[in-house]
């Protein structure tokens, strides 16, 4: 006869209620781990999807994700010339925030090196890659734009041609992919007001020089809206991505390391920088929360189990008096603890299935989490029943005779 179940049967509602409460607590622990895993997974898509062997960034920076990096575009040509390099392509990365239909929209804008990379290795869920160097973009579905919709950026319209899923920065911003040229256009776009002000400043400066006073027609030139000052150099890029022959990567890396203006990172190193710089603190924070929540759950379970045992003291004394084998009584407590743990886990699991998809950040239940969570739950409930078990051992059967 199973005593544990028969005891639970007498107060099913209370037992299930307790289990549900614990389950919710547990689901918070799982969610924290899942959010962290999701964060890492989302963030690394930025490096993973680029399929680069080497990342060249501004010397002594840890860019372009953990900090800004500005690299002269000529590096691209220089890198292409290194023996063993298959392709070298520019890469830009910048965060922009625009208002779209009244809502604030934060976008991490990635410039892909056209024509080498039209989004080749992006995990598209719908649509296609870029087919034109200008006016097309691939965005993350989290942005809420559909295929064919347009987004106005820097006075130009960009048509959405492809959608990715879960391409988010570690800050949770959606990523959009355009060609490097478009990215620069967007980045260096000035609002009309700023352009007017700059023109006035140029005119004022011109008037202060001999050249300006001597050649008044120059003024007409700089106030012409179509006129752009000739660039001294093309704008910098954030990084240059290099693909090399697999067996020559080390060699290529050696060559580039000797260049004075770049730092070279492998794909893994770049990923570590991305996570280390941005996700590391979140990881510690979440780890700490997990420990606290786990301890809280353990203490609560311990008190619940202890109380469940205390209120059965007389019944247990009666059973002891009848000569119940010790294992039966300890088993009664342990089985209830396990039942509580199993129910709580089931509740947490159901919560996860129902609620996690509605969270603003992705909750990624990795294989490790789904393996560790039930094992840890059962471990905790087992440990937490120690108080109850020691109480069972201490019950004096003569208590039963006292009535």
């Amino acid at each position: 006869m199973n005593l544990a179940l028969r005891d639970v049967r007498r107060h099913v509602a209370r037992f299930v209620g307790t289990a549900a409460g614990l389950g919710l607590l547990l689901s918070v622990v799982v969610a924290m781990q899942g959010i962290y895993a999701g964060m890492v997974d989302d963030a690394t898509i930025l490096t993973r999807a680029m399929r680069a062997d080497l990342w060249l960034v501004q010397r002594d920076t840890r860019g372009p994700f953990a900090e800004g990096s500005r690299l002269d575009p000529s590096v691209e040509a220089r890198a292409s010339a290194v023996p063993g390099v298959r392709t070298a392509r520019p890469y830009t990365y910048q965060l922009i925030q625009r208002e779209q239909r009244g809502a604030v929209m934060r976008i991490a804008l990635v410039g892909l090196g056209w024509p080498d990379d039209p989004g080749r290795s992006l995990p598209l869920v719908r649509g296609r890659r870029l087919q034109q160097p200008h006016g097309e973009m691939i965005v993350d579905a989290s942005l809420g734009l559909g295929i064919g919709e347009s987004l106005a950026l820097g006075g130009e319209q960009y048509r959405v041609v492809g959608l990715t899923k879960n391409a988010l920065t570690s800050g949770g911003d959606s990523v959009a992919f355009v060609s490097v040229a478009d990215a620069e256009l967007i980045a260096f776009d000035q609002p009309a007001e700023a352009a007017v002000l700059e023109r006035q400043r140029v005119v004022a400066r011109l008037r202060g020089t001999d050249l300006g006073r001597g050649q008044p027609t120059l003024e007409d030139l700089v106030t012409d809206a179509r006129w752009r000052a000739p660039a001294l150099a093309s704008p910098p890029v954030a990084a240059v991505l290099v693909e090399a022959d697999p067996h020559r990567i080390a060699e290529v890396r050696e060559v580039m390391r000797s260049w004075g203006d770049v730092s070279v990172y492998s794909q893994d190193e770049e990923e570590a920088l991305l996570l280390g710089g941005v996700v590391q603190r979140a990881r510690m924070q979440i780890g700490l929360f997990t420990v606290i929540l786990t301890l809280t759950a353990a203490v609560i379970i311990m008190m619940v189990m202890y109380n469940l045992t205390l209120e059965k003291t007389h019944d247990l004394a009666v059973l002891k008096l009848m000569g119940a084998p010790r294992t039966r009584l300890l088993g009664l407590i342990l089985q209830q603890a396990w039942l509580l743990g199993a129910l709580a886990y089931a509740v947490a699991f159901a919560m996860g299935e129902l609620a996690f998809p509605m969270f603003p950040r992705r909750v990624l239940i990795t294989e490790t989490i789904s393996l560790v969570a039930p094992v840890a739950t059962m471990g905790i409930v087992t440990l937490a029943s120690i108080l109850g078990l020691t109480h069972v051992m201490r019950i004096d059967p003569s208590v039963a005779l006292e009535g």
Partner: protein
């Protein structure tokens, strides 16, 4: 008739120094199988203490207890597995709240059968409840049973493993005199039908004619020992 239990020179003192209470003072007694004995005496005379010593719940400080002819406790030291002894050969009935509250009447009896190693617990539990005339309440929880029904279920449970000794500490305290008498008569029936030795602590002097033997305790000693009538012939 074979002795179910024999106590030799049991002594037990609670506390130390001036506040020490001698609850058992050189108590010697023997209860034969097939006998129903009453243990009488004023409050505080040591009746419950004696029951606990004979039932291997809290042993006496000194003295010996023989069970079925075997020495099992000597000077407070167990010489056998007392829990196993309790579940196989002893039955307890006490004042109130006797039953396991989360088990139904039938399950209360069944679990005792199980502890005693009986395989057909359920069937046996039904038979016992029938024997004690509470078969109709087998699915009820203790709190839904009247005091008398509870005591009958408790007696059924005490009988689960055909014990050689049944110890009852004021089993009728919560019952009216009619019910109280019928419980006492049940004990007698059990002793005589099944050959168990039954020792009942009672304050109820109206039902004393039911018992074969009367023991009277005072200040931890057995003062009087009265054979009410000759022990009946062996029941089996």
């Amino acid at each position: 008739m074979e002795d179910a239990v024999r106590a030799l020179d049991l002594t037990k003192t609670y506390g130390t120094g001036p506040s020490a209470v001698k609850a058992l003072d050189h108590v010697t007694l023997t209860i034969a199988r097939g006998t129903v004995a009453a243990l009488l005496g004023p409050s505080g005379s040591g009746k419950s203490t004696l029951i606990k010593a004979l039932g291997f719940v809290s042993p006496a400080d000194t003295g010996e207890v023989f069970f079925g002819g075997r020495l099992v406790v000597k000077d407070g030291v167990p010489l056998a597995d007392l829990a196993a002894l309790r579940r196989r050969h002893l039955g307890f009935v006490f004042q109130k709240a006797n039953l396991t509250s989360f088990l139904t009447a039938r399950e209360n009896v069944e679990i005792a059968c199980e502890f005693g190693g009986k395989s057909d617990g359920r069937k046996r539990a039904r038979e016992l409840l029938e024997y004690l005339d509470v078969a109709g309440r087998e699915r009820s929880y203790p709190e839904m049973l009247s005091g008398g029904e509870q005591q009958r279920v408790a007696i059924a449970r005490a009988l689960a493993n055909e014990p050689s000794l049944i110890l009852a500490d004021e089993p009728t305290a919560a019952l009216d005199s009619v019910r109280s008498r019928s419980v006492m008569e049940l004990f007698r029936k059990v002793a005589h039908d099944r050959g168990a030795a039954v020792l009942v602590v009672t304050h109820d002097h109206r039902a004393l004619d039911v018992f074969d033997v009367l023991y009277e305790m005072e200040d931890g000693q057995i003062r009087a020992h009265q054979q009410e009538r000759p022990a009946p012939p062996a029941a089996r």
